[in-house]
């Protein structure tokens, strides 16, 4: 359900862009999806393939998902580490004073369009 909600907004954002830029057809959409964004990419692609058929501008748009690795910053020892492997506890010093630097995002990087 969550993936479908995001797809609705993605489609709306793309249709608005298409209207502004006078684009007839979008053929590829590249998304940057963070490892800990909570988006299940397989399910997300299935939702997209179902949904795009309903929109003339989007029906030929293939979804390309680029995974962004999640990185956490440790405020105690001032080092970074991979989030998925170690979670909230810093593997360098054992501190819990840690913050996610990236890996939570879902960004439309670029689109390919027919001229």
């Amino acid at each position: 359900m969550h993936e479908m909600g995001i797809i609705l907004h993605l489609a709306k954002t793309l249709e608005e862009t298409a209207e502004q830029e006078k684009i007839q057809k979008i053929t590829r959409v590249a998304l940057e999806v963070g490892e800990v964004s909570g988006i299940m990419t397989d399910y997300f692609t299935d939702c997209w393939n179902y949904f795009r058929k309903k929109h003339p501008v989007l029906e030929e748009a293939e979804l390309e998902i680029l995974t962004i690795p999640a990185v956490t910053w440790c405020d105690s020892c001032k080092q970074t580490y991979p989030t998925v492997q170690y979670g909230r506890t810093c593997p360098h010093c054992g501190s819990g004073e840690t913050w996610l630097l990236k890996g939570n995002e879902c960004i439309i990087k670029e689109i390919e369009v027919e001229e």
């Binding site: 995001i6 907004h9 862009t17 990087k109 670029e110 390919e112």
Partner: protein, 219 residues
């Protein structure tokens, strides 16, 4: 073929709609509160008591968002506040567009405070800006003090955390200090209240905050 760089978040269109709605509500002097919590945390019960206490001094309306049914809207109308039921058609959250339609359903009457009771869920509602002026979340004692660890985004986006059902605390191992410390670590500015809708404990502080938020919004 031409490639256009966008670098926009997927929900950019929603964020824009939400910003427009928020400024329209600011203009009207209506504070919209996005009330979020898990199913059964006590959203409707908290609202019933709050409305009873504040309805003589504030014009209040409630928008109940659910996947189905209208049981919550019926409860709110019994207390004497205007309520509309917004169905999300299976969606797990409200977005700015759905919120605008629910506000339209409330009609042209002016309100000081409109509460959007979001779908019971600690995940998806946190990701979608509804256009609300303030986000308030509830966590009930039976749910456990570890929830800030499991649902960090909800605690990060909320202006207020209300810990509900404090009357049953003797029966649960809920560590209030640990819960508050976890929430503040995610969100140093979060306001925290502890209440029991059954005994009324803690409602004074929460209602004072709410009344002040309503008057501040009109400035």
């Amino acid at each position: 073929m031409k490639i256009i760089e966008l670098k926009e978040t997927v929900t950019a269109s929603n964020d824009r709609d939400a910003a427009v709605l928020r400024s329209e509500l600011k203009e009207k002097g209506t504070l919209l509160i996005n009330l979020m919590a898990s199913p059964g945390a006590g959203k409707t019960t908290l609202l019933e008591r709050t409305i009873r206490d504040l309805k003589d001094t504030h014009r209040i309306a409630v928008m109940e968002a659910d996947v189905d049914s209208d049981v919550d809207a019926v409860r709110i109308e019994k207390i004497g506040a205007k309520a509309v039921q917004a169905h999300t058609d299976g969606m797990c959250h409200m977005d700015a567009g759905m919120t605008r339609r629910a506000l339209e359903a409330l009609g042209d009457e002016p309100f000081d405070l409109v509460v959007l009771e979001n779908v019971g869920n600690l995940i998806c509602p946190a990701e979608f800006d509804t256009g609300a002026g303030k986000c308030v979340m509830l966590l009930s004692v039976p749910e456990g003090d570890d929830k800030p660890l499991k649902y960090p985004l909800m605690f990060s986006v909320s202006d207020v955390l209300i810990i509900t059902k404090t009357d049953v605390a003797p029966y649960f191992d809920f560590d209030f200090d640990a819960c508050m410390a976890r929430a503040r670590k995610l969100n140093p500015n979060i306001q925290i209240f502890t209440v029991s809708a059954k005994t009324g404990e803690g409602f004074d502080a929460w209602e004072q905050w709410l009344s002040k938020a309503v008057s501040d919004w009109k400035e």
